[in-house]
């Protein structure tokens, strides 16, 4: 099952906040969206959830038997503050006719909310409110989940639990998840596919394999060999940065490079390899723009 968004444009007055965005949300896959404030992430999510219908383009939903095919948490968690967390969950499950007490109990357990679920939700901390918002989104076992910064305000343990739970939902329950966050490492951890947005446009789409396959390499050679090494690497197609007495570049596999260096009689004095991350790609892209 897939939700397909094609050529989405959204305008407020004369300004376009979304320009020609296309996105596919498949069952069992997690799509991450990153971008600075005002990039259009939330607007895109609202269109997908049906909160905004005044847009150009198309959104195709699959035929679904579920009462509530899309669960969502957008901007901030929505619930009735004068009711307890449990009362909120019960209300929404009755309203959307997805109510079994077991369903609610399982959701509470999965999100580790037992300790405070019967307290008035206006007394919750930000992290607790986020969990309640996610719990409401999860009611009724939706086929798709749309979560806007779900780990906002959570403690580190809570973040790990939520991210692990999202991975479980995608892998085991085949739920398609669209998630946005300013925490690039969170997005990298869970997403199968990442969309980088800037000023309403999709500037880059990244598969998770593209991130993990590269490494940042920094090598130090003798000063007499520096220029020669730089030229050799550039001939091999690498983008090399010269930094005092070391050379930095991205590479998938060091073995052919090391072979080449030994053939050219270039002695490595030092080598440092770091994991290539989504952060690197994101800031490289922003620099390029």
């Amino acid at each position: 099952m897939t939700i397909v968004m094609k050529n989405i444009y959204k305008r407020y007055d004369k300004q376009y906040v979304l320009k020609n965005i296309s996105l596919e949300l498949r069952a069992g896959k997690i799509v991450g969206i990153v971008g600075k404030n005002g990039a259009g992430k939330t607007t895109l999510m609202k269109i997908l959830c049906g909160n905004i219908v005044d847009f150009e383009g198309s959104v195709n939903y699959p035929d679904s038997l579920s009462n509530r095919p899309i669960g969502f948490l957008i901007e901030s968690p929505k619930f009735y503050p004068n009711q307890t967390g449990f009362e909120n969950l019960k209300f929404f499950s009755q309203l959307f006719s997805i109510g079994h007490k077991e369903n609610i109990d399982n959701t509470i357990k999965a999100l580790d909310m037992e300790a405070y679920i019967h307290k008035k939700s206006k007394k919750y901390s930000l992290g607790m409110k986020q969990r309640l918002g996610i719990a409401i989104a999860l009611l009724g076992n939706p086929e798709f989940l749309v979560l806007d910064e779900p780990t906002n305000g959570m403690d580190p343990n809570g973040i790990e639990e939520i991210l692990a739970h999202l991975k479980y939902l995608a892998e085991e329950r085949q739920i398609g998840i669209l998630i946005s966050s300013h925490q690039l490492d969170h997005i990298q951890k869970v997403s199968d596919y990442i969309l980088v947005m800037e000023e309403g446009e999709a500037v880059k789409s990244i598969d998770k394999d593209d991130i993990v396959s590269y490494k940042h390499v920094t090598i130090a050679v003798k000063s007499t060999d520096l220029q020669r090494t730089k030229l050799m690497l550039e001939r091999e197609g690498f983008e090399v940065r010269l930094d005092h007495h070391s050379l930095s570049f991205k590479a998938k596999n060091m073995n052919p490079i090391l072979k080449k260096l030994s053939l050219e009689n270039i002695v490595l004095q030092d080598i440092e390899m770091k994991e290539h991350t989504l952060k690197d790609i994101y800031f490289d892209e922003r620099e390029a723009k």
Binding site: V53, E56, V59, N60, E75, L95
Partner: protein, 181 residues
């Protein structure tokens, strides 16, 4: 989301609200005050005045309860959870409208009981149809009017992105092929 679910849950919330009973009691007490004045102080008042005194409390309460039907959802932001597709938006609106009618029937019904009770107590002729149908009809119209007044103010003046008008009118340039689920 079904209209019946919205209505049932709304009715449950209304009946659980203690301020409903407080406002009904105040309205009844005001009306009974006038009945006392008529019976024991020879007050020159008619049945219209009794319904008017009842109305002092009930109209204010009814206006508040009718706007509360939307205000709770707007202030908490839960309105976005309901406005996820055309069917839900329709169910939400109709459910709230029926809940406003329920409130009108409730307040109008209590008014009818007060008027009939007062007439029997004061030994006046009882116009059953006029004392039952008229107050209920008037209170239902009043409640629907106040609910719609708030609703259209929110839609037209606020230009809120969740406003019903924005959500039921598609842009003419929209080449939509989305299917409501």
């Amino acid at each position: 989301m079904k209209v019946s679910k919205v209505l049932m849950l709304e009715m449950k919330n209304i009946l659980k609200n203690r301020w409903l009973y407080v406002s009904l009691i105040i309205s009844i007490v005001l009306a009974l005050g006038l009945v006392y004045a008529i019976k024991f102080l020879q007050g020159p008042f008619t049945i219209k005045a009794i319904s008017g005194f009842y109305g002092i409390g009930s109209t204010v309460a009814l206006a508040v309860f009718c706007t509360k039907l939307y205000v709770d959802d707007l202030s908490s932001g839960t309105v976005s959870l309901f406005f996820s597709n055309k069917k839900n938006r329709r169910s939400y609106f109709l459910g709230k409208l029926l809940a406003a009618i329920f409130l009108g029937i409730l307040f109008g019904g209590v008014c009818a009981i007060v008027l009939i009770g007062a007439s029997y107590y004061l030994g006046w002729q009882v116009n059953l149809i006029g004392y039952i149908i008229k107050p209920i009809l008037i209170y239902v119209l009043f409640s629907v009017f106040h609910m719609e007044l708030f609703f259209f103010n929110w839609n037209i003046l606020q230009k809120h992105e969740y406003a019903y008008c924005n959500n039921i009118n598609y842009s003419t340039s929209c080449s939509l092929s989305c299917r409501a689920y």
